[in-house]
């Protein structure tokens, strides 16, 4: 059984997995993994071209085009709003899309987003017509302000990029889901294994963006399938309605007319 379609900035999608294109052992393994994942949105980036790597760059580009996915360019490596805005404008021209995964980092140790610069860049880009997918922390007030600026999608971290630590703060992610029911929320970064993705989807998250957990698996294509199934299972569970936790045990077998009932307290 497949989960229902959903919409991202007016685009109807079936898959709830966004996947990155970096860190794979080879371009072919990248393509195999992306196809196996069923993802319809892939993240890409841009760098200065040099004479030596122009051919590799064009080979990569041809492979990306052949995947026939929606492109989500990122502003990875930017540490100021001005840098991120400039990168987004270049990416729009290069990839011919107004979608941007907005990353503005504030610390080089944990690659934590800078909330202040992120807000500044988001405001500028939305005024310029961009559809912004901000990579943000799980801070509720920051996320509310991003929503106020016009973001229809937010992508809070589960844990720092590339750490694979899973959801470090499920409470904060739960509160975001509760307080921002109208937004598309995707957990971006920190997902290490399929059960992390299940946990996020069971919280009611609309999707997952990941890269390292698939690219650095021993078999990326198989791991991509595992994440596809995990995200599907988590979403189905959320849509089905998860039973509430309780302290007291409650027998599942009916006790009425049970023989020897009088022997138990």
């Amino acid at each position: 059984m497949q989960t229902s379609n959903w919409q991202v900035y007016g685009q109807t999608l079936k898959s709830r997995l966004f996947i990155g294109t970096a860190l794979y052992p080879s371009p072919k393994i990248m393509c195999d993994a992306i196809r196996a994942s069923g993802a319809e949105v892939i993240t890409v980036s841009l760098r200065r071209q040099t004479a030596g790597d122009a051919a590799n760059g064009q080979q990569f580009w041809q492979m990306i085009k052949d995947l026939n996915c929606h492109l989500l360019p990122n502003t990875a490596g930017c540490y100021s709003a001005a840098e991120a805005v400039k990168t987004a404008i270049m990416a729009r021209e290069l990839f011919e899309t107004d979608w941007v995964k907005l990353e503005v980092l504030g610390d080089s140790f944990n690659l934590q987003p800078d909330p202040f610069a992120l807000l500044e860049a988001t405001e500028t880009l939305i005024k310029d017509g961009f559809k912004v997918f901000p990579y943000c922390t799980d801070d509720l007030v920051l996320c509310q302000k991003l929503a106020d600026l016009g973001c229809e999608v937010l992508m809070p971290w589960g844990a720092p990029i590339g750490t694979g630590q899973g959801l470090l703060n499920p409470y904060a992610l739960t509160v975001l889901r509760e307080r921002l029911p109208q937004l598309n929320l995707l957990v971006d970064a920190g997902i290490g294994k399929p059960s992390d993705a299940v946990q996020a989807m069971e919280l009611g998250y609309d999707g997952i963006l990941l890269n390292t957990a698939v690219a650095e698996a021993l078999d990326p294509a198989i791991m991509a399938q595992a994440f596809k199934q995990a995200i599907n299972a988590g979403r189905l569970a959320y849509e089905a309605g998860i039973m509430p936790k309780r302290l007291q045990a409650k027998p599942s077998t009916p006790t009425l007319d049970q023989p020897m009932w009088q022997q138990h307290g």
Binding site: G20, T21, N74, I89
Partner: protein, 70 residues
């Protein structure tokens, strides 16, 4: 005799014939292949207007292409 000018292409100093437009420079430097975006002095130059962008001495040209990203 043609005059020369110095420009910067991806942070490398390059001596070029003066009075060239951006399309001519990119072709000359073999940087116009496939998918790329050109930026002159921090301003993106749309592909449709590369031949209308006259380059001056000291201009900073950046050529960017797609790479993998997470």
């Amino acid at each position: 005799m043609q005059t020369e000018m110095q420009v910067w292409i991806n942070d490398q100093s390059v001596a070029l014939t003066a009075s060239l437009n951006l399309a001519e420079i990119l072709a000359q430097q073999r940087l116009d292949q496939g998918c790329f975006v050109a930026v002159v002095n921090d301003t993106v130059v749309p592909k449709t207007t590369l031949d209308q962008c006259l380059i001056q001495a000291g201009d900073r040209i950046e050529i960017l292409s797609p790479i993998s990203g997470g």
